[in-house]
């Protein structure tokens, strides 16, 4: 257990120039990817500038445990950009963590399917189990992604306090954390990385710091056991995304992992009935094995996701990172956790821990995510339009197929589809490309052909393979 600390004279400086100094103590509430990455980067950067600080991560859960108790409940996709950034940062994701390398996306619609592959058949996206695995696992033959990151943080010098924070108060400008049956602990910086599926965020609304919890929506996540061989033969190394005209359903994906397939649904008032309707769709049945029974689930959850980040994800000596602050709309939540965690670590080490420092240096990072999400809403409106209008779906398929037939042609539609599904590029970038004159001309030329029903129809296993040129 951490011991109480008397701050040094330098760290007691007045508000506005508060900074971490030798002996400073930092608390991270929540040991998911945002918290673990923050702790790792903070300690790594502190070492680089010869700063000796202590970091305590408050995390009562053990992520190695199977079932919901050890799971941070999400689809478990490590995006292309995050895979590359982590690799450049020296954070390796070993094959025990990556349950399946993903080298392509297959878009399924009622009018056909299109496969969009990465260049050079490279596994650029990682499918992971966030926790110890679905409820029916007795002994996991993999390593939990969240556990891997938290061990990396402890290797960097962070200490895990396996307790839940019950109360947060201020004392002389600093924050004091209280856990059940423990001594109150005072910290020079507190970083909140709890996600949105917790009641602790209410506590911060009561601190009078202008923090309001993010707006959330429900998602549905189910895990199905199929076995590695069956998955290799059916879903393979592709993530399967669905643009189906099912009421209330906005987006759905099937993510193959080692022995399991994760089903992820986004939409309005998500519930079990919507999950069942999706599972019954012929496009889904065509992808899954013939004897698949959607009723036989290994695990299921209905977690909340952040759909509108907080306006002020900081206060004096206090930061909100990952889902409890600002995240990307619908996609790449772990990528946003990485971005906000690393920005928070950079600011805390190099700019200070005052409200002014956070406003000047941390807020712009959050704002760039928030403003990109605004554009993202329009981009998703266009995909909704495609969901409702059959001829738009035909055009998408036709243009993508034409790009495949002409490999030298720049794959504009394919790269848009890839980036929308993979979450690898900013929405503003994708949105601009949606209105590129060349793409509009291609779509306009495709329109008469789609009326004549010339759009290629695909059968399972015979998808149009379209390689995207890298232009992200």
């Amino acid at each position: 257990m951490a011991t109480a600390h008397t701050p040094t004279a330098e760290s007691q400086s007045s508000a506005g120039d508060a900074a971490l100094v030798d002996g400073s103590r930092v608390a991270v509430i929540g040991g998911g990817p945002a918290g673990a990455l923050f702790a790792h980067f903070l300690l790594q950067m502190a070492e680089r500038v010869d700063l000796e600080i202590g970091v305590d991560i408050y995390e009562p859960r053990l992520f190695a445990k199977p079932g919901p108790v050890g799971c941070n409940m999400c689809g478990g996709i490590i995006s292309e950009s995050l895979v590359q950034n982590l690799a450049l940062d020296g954070v390796r994701l070993p094959k025990d963590v990556v349950q399946r390398g993903i080298d392509s996306y297959v878009l399924h619609m009622d009018v056909g399917s299109v496969r969009i592959a990465t260049p050079n058949e490279e596994m650029r996206i990682g499918a992971v189990h966030r926790g110890g695995g679905p409820r029916d696992v007795t002994e996991a033959n993999w390593e939990s992604f969240d556990q891997h990151l938290i061990e990396m943080a402890t290797d960097s010098g962070a200490k895990i306090i396996p307790a839940r924070v019950d109360a947060v108060t201020r004392d002389d400008g600093r924050l004091v954390l209280q856990v059940r049956d423990g001594e109150p602990q005072t910290y020079d910086l507190v970083v909140v990385a709890t996600g949105v599926n917790t009641s602790i965020l209410k506590t911060f609304e009561g601190l009078g710091i202008g923090y309001e919890r993010p707006q959330v929506t429900k998602t549905l996540i189910r895990e199905y056991f199929l076995g590695q061989d069956v998955i290799n033969e059916t879903l393979g190394t592709s993530m399967h995304v669905f643009l189906l005209n099912i009421p209330r359903l906005e987006f759905a994906a099937l993510i193959p992992k080692g022995d399991y397939v994760t089903m992820c649904l986004l939409g309005d008032e998500i519930d079990n009935a919507l999950g069942d309707a999706f599972a019954a769709a012929p496009e889904v049945r065509a992808v899954m094995p013939a004897d698949w029974d959607p009723e036989v689930k290994s695990c299921q959850c209905l977690p909340h996701i952040n759909v509108r980040g907080v306006e002020k994800p900081y206060a004096e000596r206090l930061l909100f990172i990952g889902d409890s602050g600002v995240t990307r709309l619908y996609k790449d939540g772990i990528g946003a956790a990485y971005r906000t965690a690393k920005a928070a670590a950079r600011v805390a080490i190099f700019e200070g821990v005052s409200e002014d420092a956070f406003r000047e240096h941390y807020l712009p990072v959050c704002r760039s995510i928030t403003s990109d999400n605004r554009v993202g809403r329009y981009a998703f409106l266009l995909t909704q339009l495609a969901q409702r209008l059959r001829f738009v779906r035909r055009i998408i398929l036709y243009v993508a197929a034409a790009e495949q037939a002409t490999p030298r042609r720049r794959p504009r539609m394919s790269s848009i589809l890839w980036d929308m599904f993979s979450g690898s590029a900013p929405y503003s970038d994708i949105f601009m490309r949606m209105f590129h004159p060349v793409l509009i001309v291609r779509a306009a030329l495709a329109f008469p052909a789609t009326l004549l029903s010339r759009t290629p129809r695909s059968t399972p296993g015979a998808h149009a393979a379209i390689s995207t040129k890298e232009n992200r």
Partner: protein, 137 residues
């Protein structure tokens, strides 16, 4: 090596980059080992090897020059690519992303300096040996 891994799988002996090619990406080894070699008068000279987590190919990106050596998989190796444009954009957004690369390049400069010192010492002793042999003769 299973499908549960990132990057592209290179078979034993497969060339990852070829000396003299124009480089537009850098590489991060996920699993396995690669060897760096140059060809001098038709003879292969193995310069060094690299293993998991090591970055290579950055010289051609930073200096806008061709690849300085050929890189070949020694045994099966999984390697991830990061293209130049993305890499530069990300460094611009987050300069700390270059920390790790600077450390890697610093290690290499240190190793090379050590090798130069060793080679000079060997050369001196060879010269001294040749000198004394000459004097003896």
């Amino acid at each position: 090596m299973s499908e549960a891994a990132l990057g592209r799988l290179y078979e034993d002996g497969e060339i990852v980059v070829r000396q003299g090619e124009v480089g537009d990406c850098l590489y991060v080894i996920q699993d396995g080992t690669v060897e760096f070699l140059t060809e001098e008068d038709g003879t292969e000279v193995i310069l060094r090897t690299a293993g998991a987590n090591e970055v290579f190919g950055e010289m051609a990106i930073f200096e806008r020059q061709t690849r300085s050596a050929t890189v070949r998989a020694r045994g099966p190796a999984r390697i991830l690519t990061v293209d130049k444009k993305n890499f530069m954009r990300r460094i611009n957004e987050d300069p700390s992303l270059a920390f790790n690369l600077v450390v890697t390049m610093s290690h290499r400069v240190r190793e090379l300096s050590h090798e130069v010192v060793q080679l000079e010492a060997e050369l001196r002793s060879l010269r001294a040996g040749a000198g004394s042999a000459h004097a003896d003769g």
